[in-house]
């Protein structure tokens, strides 16, 4: 059969390296290259990227040098120290504990939970949506009834109840509990796009080319809805930081001995703290705002990079 093609084309094995080099010279840049060009074209987003990556790296490394149980010990001598006194950069809270150290360890806990939750719930939601939307019919029907059932459960109430039932919970169990509920929005979103996408001709072309269903779902359709996936994942990451902080703020998040951004913002429950001891809650609040804003900036850039008609970076 190969001879058949050899008869009709002048190209032979001898030309292979030369031609593939020619093609490489004309090749469209790689995805990583496009994303980087896009960041270079959008300076605020580049700053946001540096802020997010730098901050997460700093928090992860710095928290290794902090002895958490010791940090959480009450030290009455430092009761509500102002920032800058007694070697405490950001002052101390009502227990005389360093706000700066709590902020570092708390950020690590909150961001760690948010990353874990985003990875688990988005992966599950994306798979659920893709499979449900692609197979359609009875499979879709069954999967969507499971989804409806999960949506019917009151999420916050269930999490609070589960947290009180489980005796020794920590950051990991908390992440898993959140993950049970947070895949739903993603799955519906992905399903709706998959329904539209799987009607397109390139899917039919892949079927006639003998590609298996799973390969079509994950190698053909998924890359085509990647801009949606990226936007949804970045937004849900920003949202998931809020989920943990919100629940910790209410007192149902991490145990009291584990600091988090939520427990620090919970300091603002006390009117005294709001008016006089602003340093106990303001740094954590500012950090959340800056992180969430930066993340959504980064998400926008990646979305633009994924959609060639929206790009602002160097033309290809």
């Amino acid at each position: 059969m190969a001879e058949n093609f050899n008869q009709h084309s002048d190209i032979s094995a001898a030309d292979l390296t030369r031609l593939s080099q020619e093609a490489k010279a004309e090749a469209t840049p790689s995805t990583a290259r496009i994303i980087w060009d896009e960041f270079k074209a959008d300076k605020p987003a580049l700053v946001a990227l540096v802020v997010v990556v730098g901050f997460i790296a700093f928090v992860m490394i710095a928290s290794l040098f902090i002895d958490t149980p010791k940090m959480m010990e009450t030290n009455i001598m430092n009761y509500f120290d102002r920032p800058g006194t007694n070697g405490l950069w950001l002052g101390a809270d009502s227990g005389g504990r360093s706000v700066a150290q709590q902020l570092i360890v708390g950020s690590r806990n909150s961001i760690g939970i948010a990353i874990g939750l985003t990875v688990i719930s988005s992966t599950f939601g994306i798979c659920w949506g893709l499979i449900s939307g692609y197979y359609n019919g009875y499979v879709d029907w069954g999967m969507q009834r499971v989804y409806d059932f999960m949506m019917m459960l009151p999420m916050t109430m269930m999490i609070i109840v589960l947290v009180t039932i489980i005796p020794h919970y920590n950051a990991i169990t908390l992440t898993l509990i959140f993950s049970i509920f947070y895949w739903e929005g993603t799955s519906r979103l992905i399903r709706s796009r998959t329904l539209a996408e799987s009607e397109k001709d390139y899917v039919a072309a892949s079927k006639t080319s003998g590609t298996s269903n799973l390969k079509i779902i994950f190698r053909e359709i998924m890359p085509n809805i990647s801009s949606l996936i990226i936007v949804d994942t970045t937004l849900s990451f920003a949202e998931n930081i809020g989920v943990e902080t919100g629940l910790s703020y209410l007192g149902f998040g991490l145990p009291t001995q584990t600091p988090s951004l939520g427990t620090m913002i919970a300091n603002a429950n006390d009117p005294n703290n709001i008016t006089q001891y602003w340093w106990t809650w303001l740094p954590a609040a500012l950090e959340i705002i800056i992180l969430c804003l930066s993340i959504s900036y980064i998400g926008q850039v990646i979305r633009r990079a994924a959609d060639s008609s929206q790009r602002q970076g160097a033309a290809d």
């Binding site: 059969m1 190969a2 058949n4 093609f5 050899n6 008869q7 009709h8 084309s9 002048d10 190209i11 032979s12 094995a13 030309d15 292979l16 031609l19 593939s20 020619e22 093609a23 490489k24 010279a25 004309e26 090749a27 469209t28 397109k200 001709d201 390139y202 039919a204 072309a205 892949s206 079927k207 006639t208 080319s209 003998g210 590609t211 053909e220 890359p223 085509n224 990647s226 060639s308």
Partner: protein, 326 residues
């Protein structure tokens, strides 16, 4: 020798309604059609939009679930998934799509697009695969630098040629071309069509050529089937259909071909209106009481028309007489 035999093919889409979402009615997109495609020929399937020609094409490549009837390939009924898999059916039967942009995955490079059927059916080494892709690109007249580009970087004609390259990659025996040029402008149409003809000559491929453009069909096809409302109304050679049409629907389609001769504009208009008048007046005799076409009746070894036996013979005789006079 027939490469494909379609026997009484029916594709009905269910209409669901009511509280239990039960099937309450059906849309007969394809309603019992039979024809054979011979090896190496181009078989034209013509009809207005909604007549079921694309559904027929999709059934032939195995993209559509068939309600009843059979499609025989190498003596096996390929409407069953089992048989398609056992025969590696899609290695031998490929498709060219109408919309060249949506039929190429926008996220894949040209190399991966053309190599897709090769990876699934032929399992070549990396080097051989790249060589084959380069040869295919050369055959369809594209440069090697297309290899790592994306579909949106090409013009419509180039994209359609990439689609053709993908379809011929595994050296198929039949290609279903579903309106392959109707989205292209005229000069590019000619380019792609000639090119499909060249490939047919070189590789001995058969085409099932689906189109509504009668000019293109005349250029491409030896045998033609006219489809209307899910049924075949007339089957014949190119000469039978273009010079001796019997069914009123065929005549109407032929009258719709635009004429470039401006001097005789009035005459063309008159003949067109005359055909339309006959269609309006005699619809009842050409279609059964449900508005469907009759079963096909042979009037010559090559020519069949969907009319009651008597009327068919009568029309055929009138046609021969008319020709004898002319």
């Amino acid at each position: 020798m027939n490469i494909i035999e379609i026997k009484n093919l029916k594709v009905h889409y269910p209409i669901r309604s009511g509280f239990w979402n039960r099937i309450t009615d059906e849309v007969p997109a394809v309603d019992g059609i039979s024809f054979n495609i011979r090896a190496g020929e181009t078989y034209g399937l013509v009809g207005e939009s909604g007549s079921g020609k694309s559904t027929t094409g999709k059934s032939v490549v195995g993209l559509e679930k068939v309600t009843s009837g059979s499609i025989l390939y190498k003596g096996k009924d390929i409407t069953k998934k089992e048989n398609r898999r056992r025969l590696d059916y899609n290695r031998d039967v490929q498709m060219i799509f109408q919309d060249s942009l949506s039929s190429l995955n926008p996220r894949k490079r040209i190399e991966d697009i053309i190599a897709e059927p090769l990876r699934n059916f032929e399992h070549l080494s990396k080097e051989d695969e790249k060589l084959r892709v380069l040869q295919l690109l050369d055959i369809v007249g594209l440069d090697a630098d297309a290899l790592y580009k994306y579909p949106h970087q090409f013009s419509g004609g180039q994209r359609q040629r990439i689609g053709v390259a993908r379809a011929v990659a595994t050296h198929p025996k039949l290609i279903v071309a579903d309106e392959p040029v109707s989205a292209l402008d005229l000069s590019v149409q000619a380019q792609v069509l000639n090119f499909m003809k060249r490939i047919q000559r070189d590789f001995g491929i058969s085409y099932l050529f689906i189109s509504h453009d009668l000019g293109v069909v005349r250029h491409m096809c030896q045998n033609i089937a006219i489809m209307n409302r899910g049924r075949l109304v007339e089957i014949g050679t190119r000469d039978d259909i273009y010079n001796h049409p019997l069914h009123i629907y065929t005549k109407r389609l032929l009258a719709a071909i635009p004429e470039t001769n401006v001097d005789q504009r009035a005459a063309h208009r008159a003949s067109r209106l005359a055909v339309e008048q006959v269609y309006q007046d005699e619809q009842a005799t050409y279609y059964d009481h449900d508005g469907k076409a009759f079963p096909l009746v042979a009037v010559s070894p090559t020519h069949s028309v969907a009319l009651p036996e008597k009327l068919a013979q009568q029309l055929a005789q009138a046609e021969t007489k008319r020709e004898a006079q002319a």
